[in-house]
Symmetry: D2
Subunit: 340 residues, 4 copies
């Protein structure tokens, strides 16, 4: 597939050109696709251990907060995440949060008693055009299914949370990409995974080319609707960064997003999360003082480029991996591939 | 009850000395109290209309973000709330959010389709000392029950979300208070409702008096545990304020909280929300430009005092209204009244 | 000049394609250009009245905070600006702030006594490559000069604060642009003015085309230096918006910036300010409650597009208006026009 | 003096009960006191090295942003301070910032050229009641004087920036205090220094006792003026903390402030800064990855208490150290000691 898709930027991609090029990161989907139900759950595991016991530094940048994501208050305060990251449709965030809680309690029987409670972390986009979102079809079991099948070699496109998503009024979904950077003697990876559900076709830019306007004439049905989409951008890196620095990285996802034609429309909940796998913070410790490694800020620029480029690339991957899909009430989203 | 409780500050209380002194505001509880299950849901309705169709300006101040509250991202971006405010235990936030979503969809059948999705707003504290929080005993029906019985003349103490809460290692729960202020020719109300679940007994200050240390000797069992509590502070006013100003009000809740002995401990998710009932923002409009009334910032100081005083007063009310309670595994919290 | 410069986006420009298309907004420069001294001051007046007595709603978005701008704390709290906006070089912010203070006191003799003090608002970029920035050559008189010559028909390019700036390793400086939008029955303007001093040539994108890499070969001298630049983006609109909404607008400046090739590099202080001229807030009032007009958020998208497009356009204008300049120690920046 | 002043809280004070109990921290004053001029500069050095070359982690909490402090944008982004901390009157911030810049350039000749520019850090309160603030009497030399005489054994009261300040309508000024805490095997210090210039006498609380109301009758002249004051709170610690954690510490200064009777009034610019001396971040490094020590968040509570208590104590010290002072136009502020 990548052959036809332009490579964004100067940096090389990782081996898979997926977020899982960051060692330890895995992704799993649970997909619901039957008639009016076109939705699902996607889970990103930051590492293969227990996320609650071994927390990773993380931070969010809210580009447009018209969204219902769960878990950002504690993330901002403590600078760590402590569950796998879950993506789903907007009205299912409560159910998936409960699934995360139950899963963490199952693994850590003292949660909420001798130990602190667990912070669910659920991001969402509104797939209501293709999916009967009011049916609240996602169940807790779907989270567990996505979690259990998480792997480094996952598939992009109309799967998991991406099943019912629209992007630039075309079929959207899950896309991913990665970039490699060298800093000093060390090589690091940055990976992006997007749940792409935003944009008006007229605004679409592919690798600098404003192709949306011409495509728009092909499919426009005359109805001008305001943007009601969103994008969730998850960034992983194996560079040693603290939460303050990860917030700086997360904000640079906006660069890649902007270069595809988004203006972070009013109705679009656009949120980027970045985490680092370089080291973990134990949930409890006898020794009060931790020893941590941390990149000096003066060396961040290559990572900023990697974030911008892998985000733009991941959005393109989502668009190119998508397949034309019909869902609720016969609503249909054409795939970009079918239009080119 | 108020006879014995000191009146905080110079401002007079409203007629009920409850948040419902702000016209239109009502509160309802659903309480679960059987054996190891000591928990519940409390709902605050900002007005008697449909919260989604007629949004009220609102803002949050996160004093300590070690908490799992839901809905703050959109609140910060758009400056309005669009559901009743729900309080419950930490692990039940997902379930209550789902109940809010289902309730809003039932009232507005185009949500998530032609209309934007709805933003659930759920705050929480950890009642795991008295309540078997891992049982996830709260069900969606409990939210609906609390909502349906919301009234101006509600009861404080160990009800609703307050059922299993602890405060200063004593029995905590729901408290409320109000203050009246005159600004120019107009009279306004500020009301506070707290879900009080924070603090170490040694630190307790009542109306300036550090009584905690002496009380501490009466009940201390020798186990020094770090604070794992929280407080949620909901503030209502009928003064015409925008979201920026309401954030300023919300932050002043910290003053009342600090004066009771809290230092916003690491493990305590301390969040204040403020909303104004003076006017509503329609969910949709043909006319793009709204006419709004807004107090000039130079007149805010009386409201700041009212927030500080009604918050401190509400915490005292929670402590004085509480009754000694035994819950999970025979854990027991003594009421302040039983100790004085 | 505009003939050769691509028009960005679908929206029409205002009559001048300058920030002064927003009625009442004027801009003035004071330029220092002699030998090693290549610097200056640019002033933007939000309206023709006294900015302290008639404050305008305003807000900032800090894209990258590696910068020394003055005045943002109060701006964030109160949501208004109360002086003209001043731009200058990094080490001269103190001097220009003092000039603003003295100017406000001269016009309002009770400042700091019966009336509150005044909040200076000074933004900066580092022009140290072309300018002997350590000389602190800017004096208070230069601020007054720029203020006194502010006009709607101002000149772009290497003037005022833009005199010594570099952009994409080419000559940078001051650029401006505007867009017109229709919302409901009303027509509004959005104007942008940039102090462009950021970027690596390799990354330059002009209207979607990555021309930087090829140009880079023409001028590269072999020395790879980290980015130490910045961009200040000032946005004006006559649409009635409050501070919360203006912060949303300001953030969309990042879209236009990203589309020119910036990744908001570590060393670059990238800040956007947006203000609305639709109405003013009096510094003092007998009547506590103001009546304000405010666009419903659902109508913001055209303004977001106007911000993104006018920002990108203003950066292109800065690059195309620049002239090849030699300054400190013979350092030289080539103009883009001379390279094409 | 301390004999008569209540000791706040359970923690012991450091040897001097001053911010300089944190090893390496020193404080210097430059005082202007002649007739209508009652003002000055106070400087806090975080360590005895070059602050630009050896940066210390730092963070701010803005309790009320009606203030003109300089340098907080970069502090928030990079999490370090790189100059001594300067305190002065509101209208002199520009002059003192310029002095800081000139001082840093004198010590580091490549600033603004091969090296990044320097971020001045100036905090202020409005001393316009006692001081002819419009005279802009503070000169750059006063900053250098304060810097050059910085010492561990400094004097509190009406000196330096504190010279013309008012607090609770009494004489305010500089106060300081410290607390010692044990965490694990280690002993740490927290020190506070306040520039106290806030509050209405009626609201004054001393160690829990609301003594303001009674005192108010003694001095009230009948004129009810809105609060126009401010407080700056500088916190130092030798505990190893990063910028995120230091922001958490800084916010707890609000607890001590609230316990003295402040509600962070509208007109009061209330800002807290916290820094850690445990380790420094080099301004430049060959090795991209730093090794840092960092306290686990679960151990922060003792430090939170130390911040709250030392802040409250420092405010009391400022009030008790003050002397009755007459300044501009015969305005007079009585010392608390003279009233008791």
């Amino acid at each position: 597939m990548n052959a036809a898709i332009p490579h964004i930027g100067f940096l090389p991609a990782g081996a898979r050109d997926l977020i899982s090029d960051v060692p330890g990161v895995t992704v799993g989907h649970s997909t619901l696709a039957h008639g009016d139900i076109q939705t699902g759950v996607t889970v990103i595991r930051p590492h293969q251990g227990d996320a609650y016991r071994e927390k990773v530094p993380a931070a969010c940048a809210v580009l447009n907060g018209f969204g219902k994501s769960i878990g950002l208050v504690q993330l901002a305060e403590l600078g760590t995440l402590e569950t796998p990251i879950a993506l789903t449709n907007t009205l299912s965030v409560g159910t998936v949060a409960t699934a995360q809680i139950r899963s963490a309690v199952a693994d850590n029987s003292r949660i909420g008693r001798e130990q602190p409670t667990v912070n669910p972390l659920v991001f969402e986009c509104n797939d209501g055009y293709l999916n009967d979102i009011q049916a609240l079809a996602v169940e807790e079991a779907h989270y567990r299914e996505a979690l259990s099948c998480a792997a480094a070699g996952f598939v992009q496109g109309c799967l998991g949370a991406g099943r019912g998503m629209s992007c630039f009024e075309l079929k959207g979904g899950i896309g991913s990409a990665s970039r490699r950077v060298g800093i000093g003697e060390s090589a690091y990876h940055v990976g992006a995974l997007v749940l792409a559900n935003f944009g008006k076709l007229r605004d679409l830019i592919v690798a600098g080319e404003r192709i949306g306007s011409a495509l728009s004439d092909k499919i426009r049905d005359g109805s001008a609707t305001p943007e009601k989409g969103s994008i969730i951008i998850v960034l992983a890196t194996d560079a040693p960064l603290d939460a303050r620095q990860l917030r700086r990285l997360a904000l640079r996802a906006s660069v890649g997003l902007a270069r595809t034609g988004s203006v972070f429309g009013h109705g679009s909940g656009d949120i980027a999360l970045a985490f680092s796998t370089a080291q973990t913070i134990p949930f409890a410790t006898q020794e009060p003082v931790l020893s941590l490694r941390c990149l000096h800020d003066a060396f961040l620029d290559p990572l900023f480029h990697a974030v911008a480029d892998s985000t733009e690339q991941a959005i393109l991957h989502a668009l190119f991996a998508a397949e034309t899909t019909t869902g609720r009430d016969g609503h249909r989203r054409v795939a970009l591939r079918d239009l080119l």
